[in-house]
Symmetry: C2
Subunit: 348 residues, 2 copies
């Protein structure tokens, strides 16, 4: 939560004043950025590469709760969520545009905090902020980001290229962002019931960060390039492993076997899920917001990836008639389902 003590009125600055204030220190780092903020449109030079464009909208009350989301983290996350989509095409993200709608009662310091997070993410990932829109909102905070990336045509990885026998791989670990959210929600409820009790998040940094400050896996894209592996299909894990894997299978017209025991879970995710009486596997399958990369590779590439610490092989692609299946730790085979959040929340 931001502090309202030193308020600067943004109504006085006006839209152009605010934009100038927020963008005055921008340093462009990408050669592809010909012209950034300050004209009717940004001008970009694709230099013969294909241009990748993705966009996401984050709304207060739906995607974030300002009761426990520091604005700096929120700005950071809004960028990560979008870069993740460019990486999922095996592309290099180089620009973003950011549109913000916020109450005119928002103090300038709060907006600065939000933009600090945005700029921090841009700097860390070498992305230029090249445009956007700033408007007042009667309806809470609204953030819309469009990310722009580049790839040689031959390097682009779609969702529909998985082939029978391909290995299913995922980066990092899963379910942490969801279980971090459960923790934050619980502490919020406790706080609302008794404001004297301070939130108890001690020792839970990892899963709280997974929720509040995710990192898009541009490093995995670099790694795959380095070891000369081009995935046959790829998607980022924003809605949960099950949903994403089903997208790949549906668009590739294939089936899959996913092994429960192979799904990478951080110990803290596992323990905290247990505390909440949640099945850690379900958190990974349906939790979402992990922003890891899910991809398939040819079996011939097995030797190149088998010892890569941050990539786990979790199953393989089958013929479509075999369906999409989860093989449980006990060896049972269940059809893989993309559970909605509602179904998920009812305790399964």
């Amino acid at each position: 939560m931001f502090d309202n003590k030193e308020k600067t009125n943004i109504e006085e600055l006006g839209e152009f004043g605010l934009i100038n204030y927020l963008t005055k220190n921008i340093q462009l780092v990408q050669k592809s950025t010909v012209k950034g903020v300050g004209d009717d449109a940004a001008v970009l030079n694709a230099e013969g590469k294909r241009v990748l464009v993705s966009t996401d909208m984050l709304l207060e009350g739906i995607h974030f709760d300002l009761a426990y989301t520091p604005l700096k983290h929120l700005g950071y996350k809004a960028i990560q969520v979008n870069l993740s989509d460019i990486y999922a095409m095996n592309g290099k993200a180089e620009q973003v545009t950011v549109s913000i709608g916020m109450s005119s009662k928002f103090p300038l310091e709060a907006i600065e905090e939000l933009y600090e997070g945005i700029y921090l993410a841009c700097e860390k990932y070498s992305v230029d902020l090249v445009g956007g829109d700033t408007t007042s909102s009667k309806q809470g905070l609204v953030i819309s980001v469009t990310s722009i990336g580049y790839a040689d045509e031959k390097d682009i990885v779609y969702r529909n290229g998985a082939e029978e026998g391909d290995l299913i791989c995922v980066s990092g670990d899963l379910g942490g962002a969801y279980i971090g959210l459960q923790l934050l929600e619980r502490e919020k409820q406790i706080y609302l019931e008794n404001p004297k009790i301070q939130p108890d998040l001690e020792g839970k940094d990892y899963i709280v960060e997974r929720q509040l400050k995710p990192e898009a896996r541009g490093d995995i894209i670099d790694l795959l390039k380095e070891i000369d592996v081009k995935p046959t299909s790829m998607i980022d894990v924003s809605d949960g492993l099950a949903s994403e894997l089903l997208h790949i299978c549906k668009q590739s017209n294939k089936g899959c076997n996913l092994y429960e025991e192979k799904i990478p879970l951080d110990p803290m995710t596992f323990e905290t899920a247990r505390e909440f009486n949640l099945d850690p596997t379900v958190c990974a399958l349906s939790g979402g917001e992990d922003y890891e990369l899910l991809f398939t590779v040819k079996q011939a590439d097995y030797d190149k990836i088998k010892f890569k610490m941050d990539i786990t092989i979790i199953g393989y692609i089958t013929e479509p008639a075999a369906g999409c299946n989860l093989v449980t730790k006990g060896g049972a085979v269940h059809p893989l389902k993309a559970q909605g959040w509602n179904a998920f929340k009812s305790g399964e």
Copy 2:
């Protein structure tokens, strides 16, 4: 206002169901669209041209009022507003992404109506819808559009290229969208006070359409190409003539003389402004949302544009020391000011 009679619940469809439903009939027309909706990012081929990117956000209660804005018009306008920015760079708009946040209580038919307007605009302007995001909103309707266009580097027109002696030109006529808004607001108030009285907009089609269903001036870009005129600077008129001309002068480090008597006003704008006791010139200078193009051309191009019906020469660029001035019909010279909406509304 939309009709709630035949409701289809969008909660049942879910996000992916809704996206599939809304995008199933998309027909891509641009060669530059390699891959549209359906993967993590759209894939575009700039074919050696520069890529132009612009984005705008429209929020319920700030940019539109659903009490008098048909959703189809709103969808259409959301696209136009964005294409206008690409044209203002002397570019060709070829793609848009559209993100929508709306209440899950919104009936499917209402969203369809919104998308009908979006698709109508795309079709009419040969633009491909290649991506976006659909999310529920607790806060009213939110629309964010990003437009993507292309231009050869040598053809791009920035705001900062105006030179002393250049002629200041504007397309179409100004002030209509603002006065159309006044009319709609008045009829809304009358309706709220007495719902039995039907809105009286008869004979006011032109200014109502200027507000609800603007047309971005891609035709002017084509015309300028045809008569072989490259503007020295250009901007679209979204915030009012005064504000836009000041942007050009500031970024070009020049002054200007703008002639009140030359500002193109439609007779209906003029008459209706008078009915509202508003100065028609002030409506043009500060009203905004006309989405005409304001540009400067070299004096040598005068013969090429002087008989173009839809382009009016309204002044000329001066040395910076002369300042930015409005020369009134009576011959008085006033400094040109970008009046905010508040100042404007107080009756000047």
